[in-house]
């Protein structure tokens, strides 16, 4: 008994600073979704899902998905594909990278004021995601690490071992999330951020000179993998120096996840956002309190994080297994799981938008004063150093509506893509449509989890 009280005391003591630091950078002023809106969202998701099933049951051949328009025929667009323009974009990427590195070291050490922390976590990671979803994989061009690697020249000592797949990128992705959400504010400290970026630079340059630039940036660079997945949603694609306009989402139908680690990467995209939303709710607090046998607050968080990751993976694999039973397919469970992996990307982006878009709009404004004085020397380069953040840029009502729309559109897109993939894999038979019920259940499940988290009462400080 005494021991229990001691553990409670210790866990409580270790809890308080962690909760405080969680709010130190990038506060969200979001109210939980009202219950009626949550119910409506869930109902709408189910209605739409069954309508889509009905649609595919009667019209099994979606045509003309390959249609695209070459934008670079026009002068305005071809300008962006010119070598000179590409060189300018690369230079911009490199300059921003250098400013981020140096301002993290020498700038203000307040995370919410510093240029590096605001630029990296908000503008680059969140804004970059939204940009790639709109205009395609421009990271491929501006990636400063790639520019540096190209500048150092091509070299290749070993052939990249293909059985590793995306494991390096997956490991870096987990580390990135650890810095962001699990480290108790380590990643929010500007000097730490710069230090980690320097380490990452060394590893990336090392990796690309060992295994070749092409393979390393394809399998090893977490940002390249992340943005490549997101840009599959974009209506704009780049190929052989040409800019093409296509239907949005069709990028998800090109190729499949070729390695199980890429599926894990996508599940991590979903589950990490879900974790971030969930961790500030009462339910998470209850869960964490129940883990009284573990002392450190960070380990409790880590357990919660992995539980959510495994839950998302488990739901997905169960559905894949059911699907195989229904169709009696010869394809292995692993292969079916890989075939449908990309259909989860729209939900991953929807989660991200529903959870982080207001943070991007509000905390993102801090980049305006920060860019005028990146080194905290009292400069006013662009005359904006006195800019004050407008917190009321979006009211609670508008935020709720936006969250609902993002989640629903993500849901519809995912169901749509999963159906096309099913028709392609199992043929257009009637029972192939039936085989989609488990997949539909997964999508409804993920959508409901997303909405449920948004509707949870939040923890008090």
């Amino acid at each position: 008994m005494k021991k229990n009280i001691f553990i409670l005391l210790v866990s409580f003591l270790s809890l308080t600073p962690a909760l405080t630091s969680a709010h130190a950078f990038g506060q969200q002023y979001i109210l939980p979704l009202p219950v009626w809106l949550y119910t409506f969202g869930g109902g709408a998701a189910i209605i739409v899902s069954f309508l889509l099933i009905g649609y595919f049951a009667t019209q099994p051949n979606p045509k003309s998905l390959q249609a695209c328009i070459e934008l670079s025929r026009w002068k305005f667009f071809s300008f962006f594909a010119k070598p000179v323009s590409l060189a300018i974009f690369k230079l911009i990427g490199l300059v921003l990278f250098i400013i981020t590195l140096t301002s993290g070291i020498w700038g203000s050490q307040l995370p919410s004021w510093n240029f590096a922390t605001n630029f990296f976590w908000i503008i680059f990671l969140l804004g970059g995601t939204y940009l790639m979803a709109l205009v395609g994989d421009v990271w491929e061009v501006v990636n400063p690490w790639k520019t540096i690697a190209l500048g150092l020249g091509h070299s290749k000592v070993f052939q990249y071992p293909s059985r590793l797949g995306y494991l390096p990128a997956l490991a870096f992705y987990f580390f990135l999330i650890w810095l962001e959400l699990l480290s108790g504010g380590t990643g929010a400290a500007p000097q730490n951020l710069s230090m980690y970026l320097l380490w990452y630079t060394a590893i990336t340059i090392g990796g690309s000179s060992l295994f070749g630039i092409k393979d390393w940036f394809y399998f090893g660079d977490v940002f390249s993998v992340f943005f490549r997945l997101i840009s599959k949603l974009s209506p704009i694609a780049y190929a052989e120096g040409k800019i093409k306009l296509r239907w949005p989402l069709v990028g998800l139908l090109e190729g499949t996840a070729e390695h199980f680690s890429l599926l894990l990467f996508i599940i991590l995209m979903l589950s990490s956002t879900a974790y971030d939303g969930f961790k500030e709710t009462f339910r998470a607090y209850e869960f964490i309190s129940a883990l009284s046998f573990i002392h450190s607050y960070q380990n409790k968080q880590l357990i919660l994080f992995f539980d959510i990751f495994l839950l998302f993976l488990f739901i997905y694999l169960i559905a894949i297994w059911l699907m195989k039973q229904i169709v009696k397919s010869d394809i292995s469970i692993k292969d079916i799981a890989l075939i449908f992996a990309f259909s989860l990307i729209p939900i991953a982006l929807a989660y991200n938008l529903a959870h982080y878009f207001t943070l991007f709009l509000v905390q993102g404004q801090q980049i305006i004063p920060a860019i005028s004085d990146p080194f905290n020397l009292g400069w006013n380069l662009f005359g904006t150093s006195q800019y004050a953040m407008n917190v009321g840029i979006m009211g609670a009502k508008a935020i709720w509506q936006m969250q609902l729309v993002f989640i629903l559109v993500g849901h519809i897109s995912a169901v749509y893509i999963a159906h096309i993939l099913a028709l392609r894999t199992f043929g257009a038979r009637k029972d192939a449509v039936l085989s989609q019920l488990p997949m539909l259940a997964v999508m409804v499940c993920y959508t409901m989890i997303g909405l449920w988290i948004l509707a949870q009462p939040l923890i008090l400080p």
Binding site: Q27, W36, L37, Q59, V391, L460, P461
Partner: protein, 132 residues
């Protein structure tokens, strides 16, 4: 074929709109147009009393729930010299030891705002402003 897809979209939109109308909470003020809201100056001011001891709230609501446009007056008493800071609204009150300090404002921003003791950055409670 094209007509069929359009049909599905229309049925879908109709069902969703129906569900929305069904679930939407009734808005009282819109249903009774005879009731004229009191002019701003006569609006009731909501008062709250917060007592902070040992960096913890010992009296007063941990979550102050307001409606957009409400006028609010908060009295804060702390057992040490501190600064009371409300995030988002960025309101600041200097607190002297055991001396009640007051702040009054209109809740124009909707959302969930945390208030803290600024000097020790201890989060004490939240103010929730619900939309109209």
């Amino acid at each position: 074929m094209q007509n069929k897809s359009i049909g599905y979209v229309i049925v879908g939109l109709a069902l969703i709109a129906g569900l929305f109308a069904l679930l939407r909470p009734k808005q009282q003020d819109k249903q009774s147009p005879n009731v004229i809201p009191p002019p701003a100056s006569e609006q009731v001011v909501q008062s709250f009393n917060l007592v902070i001891k040992g960096k913890k709230l010992i009296s007063g609501p941990k979550t102050i729930v307001l409606k957009e446009g409400d006028k609010v007056k908060i009295t804060i008493t702390a057992d040490e010299a501190e600064e009371w800071h409300l995030h988002g609204y960025d309101k600041m009150v200097v607190l002297e030891k055991d001396k009640p300090a007051q702040i009054a404002f209109t809740a124009n921003l909707t959302g969930r705002f945390i208030y803290e003791l600024e000097r020790s950055s201890t989060e004490i409670g939240t103010i929730e402003v619900r939309p109209k």
